[in-house]
């Protein structure tokens, strides 16, 4: 469990994650921040790997490093001035408070947890074979309602995107943006 490799990996990955997360805030250029954010995500995926959570690690890479970053790329490209400066933002104070709140919450959970229950023989007892199978069983068994609600939400988002970009039929358009449909 606590072999040298794991310890080295933990500290290296933590350093990568924290330093690049700091650089996200400190970089002046928004695209540079994006690159550091991806690096931070990758570091977090590595941390998940050291916890043997391979499914979450791969999902982290797939969703955050792969897809969310591309989403941010599009957002940056569609807002011309945003790519210039990362400096001043209205959300500095709310962001600080939000971050502080999350830090306090996580710290409270970490202090409150009885870590003795989660190590040694007790840990080995609650061990399961594969993460993928267990996650699948839980998602479609115990947490099926939450899963279904999330998927319905995603479906609505999908349909909403289609409705928003749909071409207007001729006749029922008031703005008559004819150039768009030609």
């Amino acid at each position: 469990m606590d072999s040298t490799g794991i310890v080295i990996g933990f500290w290296a990955l933590s350093a990568i994650t924290v330093v690049s997360a700091l650089l996200v805030l400190l970089a002046r250029n928004l695209l540079h921040s994006l690159v550091f954010l991806v690096l931070s995500f990758l570091g977090m995926a590595g941390l998940f790997l050291t916890l043997s959570a391979d499914f979450i690690a791969v999902a982290q890479i797939l969703i955050y490093a792969g897809s969310i970053s591309v989403l941010m790329v599009f957002a940056v490209m569609l807002t011309p001035l945003a790519s210039r400066d990362n400096g001043n933002s209205l959300y500095l104070l709310p962001g600080l408070f939000g971050g502080l709140g999350i830090a306090v919450l996580v710290g409270f959970v970490a202090i409150d947890t009885e870590w003795a229950e989660h190590r040694g023989a007790a840990l080995a007892e609650s061990d399961f074979a594969t993460t993928v199978g267990t996650v699948g069983q839980l998602l479609l068994g115990r947490y099926v309602l939450a899963f279904e609600i999330a998927s319905v939400l995603l479906l609505f988002a999908f349909l909403g995107a289609i409705v928003l970009v749909q071409e207007r039929r001729r006749g029922d358009d008031d703005a008559s943006q004819d150039g768009a449909s030609r």
């Binding site: 695209l31 690159v35 999902a59 490093a65 790329v73």
Partner: protein
């Protein structure tokens, strides 16, 4: 210029009975047959060839005897599966009392070097293969000046690229400009991890192998975008945005077709997907043909190969996202295409073509050679497509992904989910159920593709010289074509 009368024209060759219609047929006719070329070989060479053939036959017979005898099974010198050798090495090191961490590092390094040598070897020879094969499609010779058969051409190219001056555009974002040529190689190398080369020859046999391949391939998008953005060039940015849009779109059909694979084989481990195909003696391309097609086509988009190479369409936007890169940086972008192509070949053959198995042939021939043969076949298909098909337009490509591949992919995933639950519950022999699935899937695919293409298809112009616009946007497909034909 001179006063001398023109020389009389040479007498025409007597008309032959069968004059070939095309230059290609002429070439085929002029080419000496196997028999003709064999007749010209001197006798000592023939004798030497016969001896070599006999010795090879004897060796093969000896190997065959050893295989049938089962004496090779699991020994370290059993080269049918190099995993045996590493297992032997591990056992020997453990007997010597080496620390297990050092053993782990040694074996990991050996495996990594093995995988990287596949990629590196292909980068050494791949561009020559691609250009020679492409030349055959276009009735040319291809590179044949540098070394025997032009074999040293890739090395000459690489030396030229490395010797070139690296020019960085003035307005470039220096920090981001250096990342993409390196970053784009990451998926091409890491993607090889979970590919099984033989039964015990998988470098990274993880439970989430399928997800891993998808996740790793999504990192390449970022590299392409950064390359385009940091060059401060309109063509680069255009190419990058086109490529990003296309890659994001085509990741969905890939995921859907891999979802079908996972549902049917009930595992995300690549080695178990291969084991499923080996156990039931069927390739998944037979069971889920549409998923196989969608995976192959979307992969060509994902790795920027013709017919989907709009990201670097050289006739439209110079070289797309790497226009401003020069020297070996551009060389890396070109080289990664070759690496991606064989990686996709490996994934395609693992998911849909039985991987390293070949209906029992893997008992006799090393599994990695079988996989390499399949990769080569798919690579040949890629080059064939490149030599044959024109490039799609951007809107055609996006429309093809969103209107065609994704709806049918979702439908296919539904059908496969039903079939998988039937397969998990039924007691009928696998031949009957899987056979029924194959027939049903093929029928559904044909019907839906036909119906959907009718619904969506563009009307082909009947008169190529006179461009025609379809009058009414509400009418499309074969109906519109029929209307134009009747008009």
């Amino acid at each position: 210029m001179s006063d001398q009368p023109l020389a009389p024209p040479p007498p025409l060759a007597p008309p032959t009975a069968h004059r070939p219609a095309t230059p290609m047929l002429q070439q085929i006719q002029d080419r000496p047959g196997v028999r003709d070329s064999l007749m010209g070989v001197p006798l000592p060479l023939k004798a030497a060839g016969a001896v070599v053939g006999l010795v090879t036959l004897a060796l093969l017979a000896g190997v065959g005897f050893l295989v049938v005898d089962g004496r090779l099974e699991g020994q370290w010198y059993d080269v049918r599966d190099l995993g045996n050798a590493t297992a032997g090495l591990r056992g020997w090191l453990q007997d010597e009392g080496v620390d297990h961490r050092i053993i782990w590092v040694i074996l990991g390094t050996i495996g990594g070097i093995g995988i990287l040598s596949v990629l590196g070897g292909w980068l050494l020879i791949g561009s020559w293969v691609e250009r020679r094969v492409l030349a055959k499609f276009q009735i040319r010779s291809g590179p044949n000046r540098t070394g025997p058969f032009g074999l040293l051409q890739p090395i000459a190219d690489a030396v030229k690229l490395m010797a070139k001056e690296i020019v960085i555009p003035r307005g470039a974002d220096r920090f981001l400009y250096y990342i993409p040529p390196v970053l784009i190689f990451v998926p091409a190398m890491l993607g090889w991890g979970p590919v099984p080369w033989a039964e015990r020859m998988t470098y990274l046999d993880i439970d989430v192998g399928v997800l891993y391949t998808i996740a790793i391939s999504s990192i390449g998008v970022l590299a392409v975008f950064l390359a385009g953005w940091s060059s401060n060039n309109h063509y680069s940015l255009l190419g990058a945005m086109r490529t990003v849009a296309m890659m994001v779109s085509y990741e969905i059909p890939i995921s859907l077709s891999l979802l079908s694979v996972v549902l049917l084989t009930q595992s995300m481990k690549l080695s178990e997907i291969v084991a499923f195909q080996d156990h039931y003696h069927v390739w998944l391309i037979v069971l889920i043909p549409f998923a196989a097609f969608a995976f192959l086509f979307s992969s060509t988009a994902e790795i920027n190969r013709t017919p989907n190479d709009i990201g670097e369409a050289e006739s439209e936007i110079v070289a797309g996202f790497y226009t401003e890169y020069s020297g070996m940086k551009a060389g890396l972008f070109m080289g990664v295409e070759l690496g991606h192509a064989i990686l996709v070949g490996a994934l395609m053959s693992t998911f849909f073509l039985g991987g390293y198995t070949m209906f029992g042939l893997e008992e006799w021939i090393p599994g990695y050679l079988i996989l390499a043969t399949k990769i080569a076949a798919i690579y040949f298909l890629f080059v064939w497509l490149r030599g044959t098909l024109p490039r799609f337009r951007l809107d055609q490509l996006m429309g093809y992904a969103w209107k065609f591949l994704i709806p049918i992919g979702i439908l296919q995933a539904f059908v496969v989910a039903i079939e998988a639950s039937v397969f998990a519950r039924s007691d009928a022999p696998a031949l009957i159920t899987l056979g029924a699935f194959a027939v049903v899937n093929l029928a559904i695919t044909v019907v839906i593709v036909r119906f959907w293409a009718d619904r969506l298809g563009y009307a082909p112009s009947q008169h190529a010289t006179r461009p025609q616009l379809i009058a009414d946007g509400t009418l499309g497909g074969l109906k519109a074509a029929r209307k134009i034909r009747e008009a």
